[in-house]
């Protein structure tokens, strides 16, 4: 059962293929970034993710992430409308304290303007401050946008996972290693 669900939670983010049509007009300063604040945010996150991904997650999947690590999830609003979100977790994994980026979505009209980068950056910063040694996620090898985004943030492609997704596409395991914390003299 667990294995089934884990295979299902393999991220199917199709975040970054920005198309020139139907672009929203806005200034970057108009985007408001908010940390997950409670149950009232949950339907917003769910709607965004369900909209963008072909396979919806069950509500329990969302609850798992936002209940246990509310400080790692962020939402982006433009004029009161939720236009992007990032959902993460962190924990001990084989003797390392590691963060994991589970979902990242920005709706199409708002892509290509650095909103996803900002969402992820906030999450990663929080992970770093919480003592994580590294951050990881999986991305489809064909998702050029995501690979570029995470590459700019310092992630490397640590492994290639053959036929990771159910449609036969390979994945990269992306990993960001934080530098060792500065020693306080």
């Amino acid at each position: 059962m667990l294995l089934q669900q884990q295979k299902e939670t393999r991220g199917r983010e199709r975040t970054m293929e920005a198309k020139p049509e139907e672009k929203a007009e806005f200034e970057e300063a108009e985007i408001e970034y908010v940390s997950y604040g409670g149950e009232h945010h949950l339907p917003l996150i769910m709607n965004l993710v369900d909209q963008e991904l072909s396979e919806p997650y069950s509500i329990f999947t969302y609850r798992y992430f936002v209940y246990l690590w509310p400080q790692l999830s962020f939402l982006a609003f433009h004029k009161g409308k939720c236009i992007g979100t990032v959902v993460c977790k962190m924990g001990e994994h084989r003797n390392t304290f590691r963060g994991y980026i589970a979902m990242l979505v920005v709706i199409k009209p708002y892509r290509g303007r650095g909103i996803a980068t900002e969402l992820v950056t906030r999450s990663i910063r929080m992970m770093m401050e919480s003592g994580c040694e590294e951050v990881t996620l999986e991305a489809e090898v064909t998702n050029k946008g995501a690979l570029a985004l995470y590459g700019r943030l310092g992630f490397i492609r640590a492994k290639r996972l053959f036929h990771y997704y159910l449609n036969g596409v390979d994945a990269f395991r992306l990993k960001l290693l934080f530098p060792p914390p500065r020693q306080v003299l």
Binding site: Y64, V141, I156, A158, L177, P179
Partner: protein
């Protein structure tokens, strides 16, 4: 449940049947729980969760939403069970009372099964592909239909044989969906006779074909021969279409049986059957025109997407019937390969198997490793790779024939006599044999998995080296004059220690270059990768050169005790071609490292720091496994920085490593005139060297002055040495 559930009529529009009532048994009674559920819904406010001791949020993620078709693999879609499907006519026998349609439908089933089989090989579950065939799920029912029955039997026997090969190879991991057969009727009584059953049917149809050809003018058939179907104009076409399909299955089954024979004894026979398979596949493709044109009705949709040659949908398949058996994945509709793509897949598979069957079973490990690496370049699929692995490693011996100590003995250039030496019973030597065996198995796996395993493997090779070295020093310490046998043992240790080092660096080299094939490195990381590659290549070349010198010594001692002629002495002092080949690699690696370093140091856009970490962390991550195994020694991030921090366009202009590479490649080509692979690679290396040499000159002259210059890296000539492309943006 003792009694069958009572159903309302199955709806025509394909909605799942509604249960009118489920009878209770002696000890149970049914009660309507709806009010209870309603009350429960109202009992929790938004955001509240019930906590259980053994049920946490993580476990909750595995919860299924019942009746969600994407999660509920037990959901009834069309039919509740296989039996119900059959009762509702989903898999009729005969398929049609009109014999012409029956034959065409049978061919459609054969074609769709081929497409399913290819989809399975490509990575989907057996339950959702081949065993989505209701006829196959209840094979005994097909007995009255000789054609369908014989075909289903051989499919079942073939699948069983293929599962067996892949299971035995045991390196499928990420491809583990392949061998899941739980609950599927793969074992059939009498399947061992499937070939004779098939032959009987083939014989009957052959006779029908001969008869209809012979009597086509007289329009009268021999009394004892019934025609295949009722339309005499189509008889010949149908017979031919069936024959090539039956024959393909027969020959394919033979290929699998022959290749299974131990020690490669069946390889030559297998090649003959492979050739027959390919001929029949061609006939199968050609039959498509006839099958499409023999009926007035044309099928909708793009013919290239269809899973049958005729273009019609096959009868008797339902992928959802087995959805409970395709766990652990959630129920998903999978796309069966098109019939055309399925044939293409089998053509490729057969070509890959033919390459394996043509292999000479060379006892030289070095040649074998090169063969496997070359074979993998064509990206063979799981079934082909499993067959190769089983050929190479059987019963703990190479090809089931050569003990691994003897193989190592030869690879380490030891005299033939030492291969039976008692020292092989030593624990460390036994472990070394296992390592070589595992190396061969790993090299037969898919590139992604292979690289991960090779990385972890480095530690094992390092450890065995240390162990052997320790054992050697313990035994022989400072001994100078010793007995004959002790001398032999010393020699064995020395050779093998050197050989282990060479192998270790070869594995490290393979680990690094696979990163290019798998696209694991981004452009910003190329500099450190080529630098590390350079460091590993230096050591690999050193060990290879030493190994060759030692091998030459052994050969000399074996040869006649003649005085060295001037020619021999000259040959000895020349660098062996294999070493020159590696030196060509070294020059390219060094050239690329320096060019990339200069670009980074001189052009800001090439060096974009990330907000969360530095180049140091990336270095640590990429080379962690190599560093942990100290391969090579004294290589670290600081030494990388030291080598590259002063690179500038001015320093780059001082030496052109690419010109060296070009020169070496040109010179050494004649030594490989009998080796088409290495010759081909040398040509590619020459091209890379030439292009990069020119690019370097342009960059050095204009780099700092022309901001519009764009430098990019492509693998258009060689798989792991990048060609530098300079353009004006």
């Amino acid at each position: 449940m003792a009694d069958k559930p009572v159903y309302e009529e199955a709806s025509i529009d394909g909605q799942p049947p509604k249960l009118a009532s489920i009878p209770a048994s002696d000890t149970t009674v049914w009660a309507d729980a709806s009010p209870l559920l309603q009350a429960a819904c109202a009992g929790l406010r938004d955001g509240e969760l019930i906590h259980g001791d053994n049920f946490n949020l993580f476990a909750a993620m595995s919860a299924l939403e019942i009746m969600d078709p994407k999660m509920d693999s037990g959901i009834v879609c069309t039919y509740y069970s296989i039996d119900e499907a059959i009762e509702n006519g989903a898999a009729p026998i005969p398929i049609s009372l009109d014999s012409t349609i029956d034959v065409r439908c049978t061919i459609d089933i054969m074609d769709h099964l081929l497409a399913c089989e290819a989809a399975w090989h490509k990575g989907h579950s057996l339950a959702q592909t081949v065993f989505s065939c209701i006829y196959l799920l209840r094979l005994d029912r097909t007995a009255p239909h000789a054609l369908l029955h014989s075909y289903c039997r051989i499919i079942r026997a073939t699948c069983k044989a293929v599962v067996s090969v892949v299971s035995d190879a045991r390196t499928h991991e990420e491809e583990d969906l392949f061998t899941m057969t739980y609950g599927l009727p793969l074992n059939g009584d009498g399947d061992d006779k499937c070939l004779s059953i098939l032959n009987a049917v083939e014989e009957t149809i052959s006779r029908q074909l001969r008869a209809c050809k012979a009597t086509s003018s007289k329009r009268r058939l021999p009394e004892d021969l019934e025609p295949l179907q009722s339309n005499p104009n189509l008889e010949e076409g149908f017979c031919k279409a069936l024959l090539c399909r039956l024959r393909f299955r027969k020959h394919f089954f033979h290929v699998l049986s022959c290749m299974k024979r131990p020690q490669g004894r069946g390889l030559e026979s297998a090649r003959k059957h492979i050739a027959s398979c390919l001929t029949e596949l061609e006939s199968i493709l050609k039959s498509a025109d006839f099958l499409r044109s023999c009926f007035d009705e044309s099928c909708e949709g793009d013919i290239d997407d269809k899973t049958t040659a005729s273009g019609f949908e096959p009868i008797g398949f339902d992928a959802m019937l087995n959805s409970r058996l395709s766990a652990p994945t959630p129920p998903r509709a999978i796309k069966i390969l098109s019939w055309k793509k399925a044939v293409e897949y089998f053509v490729k598979l057969l070509h890959d198997l033919d390459v394996i069957c043509s292999y000479s079973l060379d006892p030289h490990l070095e040649s074998l490793l090169r063969f496997v690496v070359q074979f993998q370049k064509s990206q063979p699929d799981l079934v082909a790779r499993s067959h190769l692995q089983l050929l190479l490693v059987q019963d703990g011996k190479l090809y089931g024939r050569d003990p691994f100590f003897a193989v190592i003995n030869k690879a380490a250039a030891l005299p033939e006599a030492t291969k039976n030496h008692d020292i092989q019973k030593n624990e460390s030597f036994l472990q070394l044999g296992m390592l070589v065996m595992n190396l061969l198995k790993i090299l037969c796996t898919n590139a992604a998995w292979q690289r991960r395993k090779l990385g972890k493997f480095l530690q094992d090779w390092r450890v065995i080296y240390v162990q052997l070295e320790l054992a050697f020093r313990n035994e022989y310490g400072e001994v100078s004059s010793s007995s004959n046998d002790e001398n032999k043992c010393m020699k064995i240790f020395q050779h093998i220690l050197l050989w282990v080092e060479e192998q270790t660096y070869w594995i490290a080299f393979r680990f690094l270059i696979l990163g290019f094939e798998l696209e694991l490195y981004s452009t910003g990381e190329y500099c450190m990768v080529y630098w590390y590659l350079y460091a590993v290549l230096i050591k690999l070349t050193e060990k290879t050169h030493l190994m060759m010198a030692v091998s030459h010594d052994t050969a000399k001692r074996k040869g006649k005790k003649k005085k060295d002629s001037p020619k021999d002495l000259a040959r000895e002092s020349r660098i062996p071609p294999a070493v020159l080949f590696l030196q060509c690699y070294i020059c390219l690696a060094e050239g690329l490292t320096m060019m990339l370093a200069a670009l980074r140091n001189e052009i800001p856009v090439f060096h974009s720091p990330s907000p969360f970490n530095t180049e140091h962390e990336k270095f640590v991550q990429h080379f962690e496994l190599l560093q942990r195994a100290c391969i090579p020694d004294h290589v670290s991030y600081p030494s990388y920085k030291e080598s590259t921090t002063h690179a500038r366009f001015s320093t780059l202009a001082m030496y052109n490593y690419f010109k060296d590479a070009q020169r070496i490649a040109k010179e050494v080509k004649s030594s490989f005139s009998n080796d088409p692979e290495r010759l081909a690679e040398l040509r590619k290396l020459e091209q890379v060297a030439e292009h990069n040499s020119v690019a370097q000159n342009v960059i050095c002259r204009l780099g700092a002055l022309d901001p519009s210059l764009k430098v990019s890296f492509e693998f258009s000539h060689h798989p792991f040495f990048a060609t530098v492309v300079v353009k004006r943006s």
